[in-house]
């Protein structure tokens, strides 16, 4: 346990070294310095995992904020949930660090990149280790910062910078909700410690309406996990280097929202209407993401939207209070989505930064490893048994089936879409003949070992990840469920699934049929998506993401800009300041009037004196003279 504090500390050190020595340090050393910390952290977490006695532990590190009755310590909490998150973060993190050594080798900002990655890992670990909502909030905002830094990593391009700012600001909107939630918690419980709060909730001594708190916290989750309406930043976030997309915008950060909800399940369980809301938001997001994903031609954009929709699934699971299922999906998704991104990265690397699948094709011969791993990833995400994705998604669907059939059926549609567009991308990228330029053609090559190795490892997990929570019918023992049980309410776990029933069959069909369709359309027919110009009708609207960005621009960005100028030029200068200046002007004017009295003529002066005397005498004597 004593080594626990090393887990976040090491990445921080890596960040410090790489960050301070950035321009000078040679790349190889920087790469190693950057990769060691997550690796060691992973080892430590593993050791933590292996000899964990099932007892949640609080480790106070130091006092942080201490004002009056309010005490917010730096404290870490070790329990089943955080340990698993540790493993995912450090594990996937390590792989992606390794991958980045190869991927970023040509980049000038190599050292800086690793510094940022380490910083991200640090904050992510703080997020999951924190023993109270405020420490969680540190990580919460910290990962936001890192995603900002990494999205805008190639900072010469203004569009990238805009994407980065968009991400940060949208997260901030969510964070405000989260902060309000924290304030409410403090108001009610006088603290933000998990244990105090949850025990209080369980024992039922609270005064305020918990659902408001839960709702505020969920707003934070919306921002962080890119749910409607705060999801538009995630696709833009693909501006960052691909490893970043894999680590931050697929595997870890975006799942923070789910982590938080699971962490606070005691709270959410007691506010069912919020849970309901969560479920529907998740569903809407899942469908929207999947729909948009159908027609995207940028390989990373497709993956981004699929991430959005997968996150939607996780929230749906939470909505059905199938916490285990959601968390299961978090983990498997971490594997296969990271895999897919890294594969895409490897493709992009080979295509010398070409991302449009219409320019690709026939890569399977040129880069076999990437091809195979990517295929496995695709199958996994499509939910085809017995791959990881199948089990996790199936659990969510199963729980939905019992929770709310309407949701369930819509979710099935979503998963059908998913499987379609994933295979579309897969086929268009690796089959058919090459559609790129000559230059790209003879530049094509398989990626170096540093990149392929992580692909292979992740591929293994994507295939076998299902074992973590293998259901009984598949001969498993639902390890995850048992592991997490102490933290979770006794939820009606999905019973035995009968593959011949609707409940069991529909998901399978939804996985297989679209896949075949995609293979037919793009594989056999060799049809290629049309150029942007030719896109039209409903497809065009979807292709342009339902014009949601434009909508937000019109609703928020433009009005605020206008307001800003209006306040500045109108209110400040024409109203307030004019009044202030006006006073001065008035005095000047009065003065120029007053001075006229000074005519320089003695006669008038004397007259004024006499008049004044008369007035004085009259006023002060009228009482005595006049009766």
């Amino acid at each position: 346990m004593s080594l626990l504090f090393l887990i976040p500390l090491l990445p921080l050190l890596g960040f410090a070294i790489n960050g301070l020595a950035y321009p000078k340090l040679p790349k190889q050393i920087a790469g190693i310095i950057g990769t060691i910390p997550p690796l060691v952290a992973f080892a430590l977490s593993l050791q933590l995992f292996l000899n964990f006695d099932g007892q949640a532990q609080i480790l106070p590190i130091a006092d942080w904020i201490k004002v009056g009755s309010l005490e917010i310590p730096f404290a870490f909490q070790i329990d089943q949930l955080s340990i698993l998150m540790l493993l995912v973060i450090t594990g996937v993190g390590t792989l992606i660090h390794v991958y980045s050594i190869g991927y970023m080798s040509h980049d000038a900002g190599f050292g800086k990149f690793f510094a940022f990655l380490n910083l991200f890992v640090f904050f992510m670990l703080i997020l999951v280790l924190g023993a109270n909502f405020t420490v969680l909030f540190i990580g919460w905002e910290g990962v936001g910062l890192c995603s900002y830094l990494l999205i805008g990593f190639w900072n010469q391009k203004n569009s990238y910078g805009d994407a980065a700012r968009k991400a940060f600001i949208m997260n901030r909107i969510g964070d405000l909700g989260f902060l309000v939630g924290i304030f409410l918690l403090i108001q009610d419980f006088g603290t933000t410690d998990y244990q105090t709060i949850f025990t209080a909730i369980k024992s039922g001594d609270y005064t305020t309406d918990l659902s408001i708190i839960a709702f505020c916290l969920f707003i934070g989750a919306m921002g962080k996990s890119a749910q409607i309406p705060l999801f538009t930043w995630l696709p833009d976030a693909m501006a960052g280097p691909t490893p970043v997309s894999a680590l931050i915008h697929a595997a870890t950060m975006v799942t923070a929202g789910i982590y938080m909800v699971i962490r606070a399940n005691a709270l959410f369980e007691l506010s069912p209407e919020v849970l309901h809301f969560v479920g529907w938001i998740g569903l809407a997001t899942a469908l929207l993401g999947a729909a948009i994903g159908l027609f995207q031609n940028d390989i990373k954009k497709v993956l981004a939207y699929s991430t959005v929709s997968q996150l939607g699934y996780m929230f749906m699971g939470l909505g059905a209070s199938a916490y285990t299922a959601s968390f299961f999906h978090v983990m498997t998704h971490a594997f296969f989505k990271a895999l897919l991104f890294l594969g895409a990265g490897s493709v992009i690397h080979a295509m010398s930064d070409e991302q449009d699948i219409r320019r690709m094709g026939g890569l399977k011969s040129k880069m076999p490893i990437t091809f195979i791993t990517f295929m496995l990833g695709t199958i996994a995400i499509a939910g085809i048994p017995p791959f990881a994705g199948f089990f996790s998604k199936d659990e969510i669907l199963a729980s939905l089936y019992h929770h709310d059939p309407v949701m369930w059926s819509l979710a099935i549609v979503g998963s059908a879409l998913t499987s379609f567009y994933m295979f579309r991308v897969f086929i268009l990228t690796f089959y058919g003949e090459f559609r790129g330029t000559e230059k790209q053609a003879h530049h094509l090559h398989e990626s170096p070992i540093t990149m392929t190795l992580p692909l292979i490892i992740l591929a293994v997990f994507s295939v076998g990840g299902g074992l973590i929570n293998l259901p009984h019918f598949a001969g498993g023992n639902e390890f995850l469920a048992h592991w997490l049980a102490p933290l979770l309410p006794e939820a009606g776990a999905a019973g035995e699934v009968n593959f011949l029933s609707l409940e069991g069959g529909a998901p399978l069909l939804a996985a297989f049929l679209p896949a075949f369709l995609a293979i037919y359309v793009f594989g056999m027919q060799k049809s290629v998506p049309s150029e942007d110009a030719e896109i039209s009708g409903i497809q065009k609207i979807i292709y342009h993401k339902f014009y949601i960005d434009e909508l937000y621009d019109m609703l928020f960005v433009k009005p605020i800009a206008f307001l800003s100028n209006f306040f500045f030029q109108m209110i400040d200068f024409l109203v307030i300041d004019l009044f202030v200046e006006g006073l001065g002007r008035f005095v000047k004017y009065a003065s120029s009037e007053f001075r006229r009295a000074q005519t320089g003529n003695v006669g008038i002066y004397l007259f004024c004196m006499v008049a004044a005397i008369v007035v004085i005498l009259f006023v002060s004597l009228k009482s005595t003279i006049l009766p």
Binding site: G19, Y22, P23, D63, W64, I65, K66, V67, G68, L70, T134, F137, I138, W140, E141, G142, L145, Y148, G152, N155, Q156, K157, N158, G161, D162, R165, F168, I169, R172, I173, D175, L176, L179, V180, F183, I186, Q187, I560, A561, L563, S564, N565, F567, F568, I571, D572, I576, D577, V580, E581, G584
Partner: protein, 481 residues
């Protein structure tokens, strides 16, 4: 006795500089300010155990005493003042102002005035320094300022003076109610006396006091002097104004308004905090579209101070503690940011955000420090800004949910304008005027790097300061709870 030293020492050196005009003014003033810092640190170390005080008859026939003291509250502020001035002086290194003995002398004189205001235990002594501090800063701004400086600095002078005159008469009013034959203006006596006043008396007095401080801070709608003045003043003047001087306003509210007029706060406090919150949003929104970087920072400072005053007016311990901490953080962050702009202006001769860009390619250290300072000012956790804003927002939220949420929007808008500033200046394509941007000199690093470190330390170890001020604040709250 130490207090007398830390009060008068800068003035001593400053006037020496003004009179004898030595060649190496920079070294002298920097040394002086550092000695001052050391002495202050010593005093604070003493004050951490129990308040240090000094008193001598000043105008005994009127019951006015030259009495100074350092408790948890004033300690934070003299600490701030003593800490920032060396940095501010250091920012003049290698410029034509470095050995300009007049400039340096005025800055040191300013430090004495500020120290005095924070140290004063006698209300009139406070007023005395409160006003006196206007003179050096006025001359700094009006001699070394930018275009149209006369009108702007003059407006600033008259405006603030006008406000503080109301403070003066209100003060005289309370002072004359203190037990005679020799009245007293000792803060505690004033607390006692003011408690006895009727609600509407307190209302008027609250208005008069708050007006003065509101203009100083400034609070909406008394702010129109501020952006102009910040923009036109020389960088160091702006740092003094925004880093330390506006804290006299917030300090005044904590020290006088809250404990003296609880009933007044009860009646008018909400109105005042609404104004402050309006200021937060108003300032942030204006900052979003600013073209001049300095003016943008001016408005951001306006927004931040609005949150402070709202938090203070909530009267809760979190509010006051948060305000104290935020004064410290804001001082550090804002002078750092102003210095960054100053550096850019020195090299490119321009503050037009639109004309800048790509600076990070020429100066990595500048970018890093700038980003850290900005993060501090957008209150990212583990930076000093977060502690203050967290406590302040909480206090406002506890006082009034709606206000709290509206005030909370600042964390969004703050990110909007700050990130815009970073993006347009540091990142993006290199522009014509940034194409030959020179990296930071040693002196510039020597200012920016320590400040950035302070930003982080402040975010990680707030308890040192909070613990220092806690007892005094508790005591203060006893006066009006």
């Amino acid at each position: 006795m130490y207090l007398l030293f830390i009060l008068l020492f800068p003035l001593l050196i400053g006037s020496a500089l003004l009179i004898f005009k030595p060649k190496n003014a920079f070294v002298l003033s920097l040394a002086a300010s550092i000695i001052e810092l050391a002495a202050t640190a010593f005093v604070l170390q003493q004050a951490s155990s129990n308040p240090v005080s000094f008193s001598a008859p000043w105008l005994a026939s009127e019951g006015l005493y030259f009495s100074l003291y350092v408790d948890g509250i004033s300690g934070v502020l003299i600490g701030l003042c003593a800490l920032l001035v060396p940095f501010i002086i250091a920012t003049t290194a290698n410029t034509d102002r470095a050995n300009n003995s007049q400039f340096q002398g005025l800055m040191l004189a300013m430090q004495t005035a500020l120290m005095g205001a924070f140290l004063a235990k006698d209300a009139f002594l406070f007023y005395f320094f409160f006003e006196a501090s206007l003179l050096p800063i006025y001359f700094l701004a009006a001699i070394y300022g930018g275009e149209n400086k006369n009108a702007i600095t003059f407006k600033f002078f008259v405006y603030t003076l006008f406000g503080s005159l109301f403070f003066l008469i209100a003060l005289v009013y309370v002072y004359l109610l203190t037990p005679g034959p020799f009245h007293s203006a000792d803060i505690e006596v004033l607390y006692q006396t003011a408690k006895g006043l009727s609600a509407d008396q307190q209302g008027y007095l609250f208005a008069a006091f708050f007006l003065a401080f509101a203009i100083k801070m400034p609070v909406f709608p008394f702010h129109t002097w501020q952006p102009d003045t910040y923009t036109v003043a020389p960088a160091q003047g702006t740092m003094l104004l925004s880093g330390i001087m506006l804290k006299m306003g917030t300090y005044g509210v904590i020290r006088f308004v809250l404990p003296m007029f609880p009933l007044g706060v009860a009646t008018w406090g909400l109105t005042a905090s609404v104004l402050s919150v309006i200021g937060i949003i108003y300032g942030s929104i204006i900052a979003i579209q600013q073209k001049d970087a300095k003016r943008l920072l001016a408005y951001s400072s306006f927004a931040h101070v609005g949150l402070m005053s709202a938090g203070i007016l909530s009267g809760s311990i979190e509010g006051i503690q948060g305000a104290l901490y935020q004064m410290l953080s804001h001082g550090i962050n804002i002078i750092g940011l102003f210095f960054v702009i100053e550096i850019i202006e020195r090299r490119t001769k321009s503050r037009e955000i639109a004309q800048l860009g790509g600076i990070t390619q020429f100066s990595y250290p500048l970018t890093v420090t700038f980003v850290i300072l900005s993060l501090g000012s957008v209150a990212l956790p583990l930076t000093n800004g977060f502690i203050g804003e967290f406590l302040l927002l909480k206090s406002v939220f506890d006082q009034n949910v709606t206000l709290g949420i509206i005030a909370g929007i600042t964390i969004i808008l703050g990110a909007v304008y700050t990130l815009r500033l970073i993006q347009k200046s540091m990142f993006g394509n290199v522009s014509r005027i940034t194409s030959d941007f020179a990296d930071l000199t040693f002196a510039e690093k020597a200012v920016l790097i320590p400040l950035s470190v302070l930003v982080i330390l402040g975010g990680v170890f707030p308890s040192t300061v909070l613990g220092f001020s806690e007892p005094a604040v508790q005591q203060l709250i006893q006066w009006f709870k």
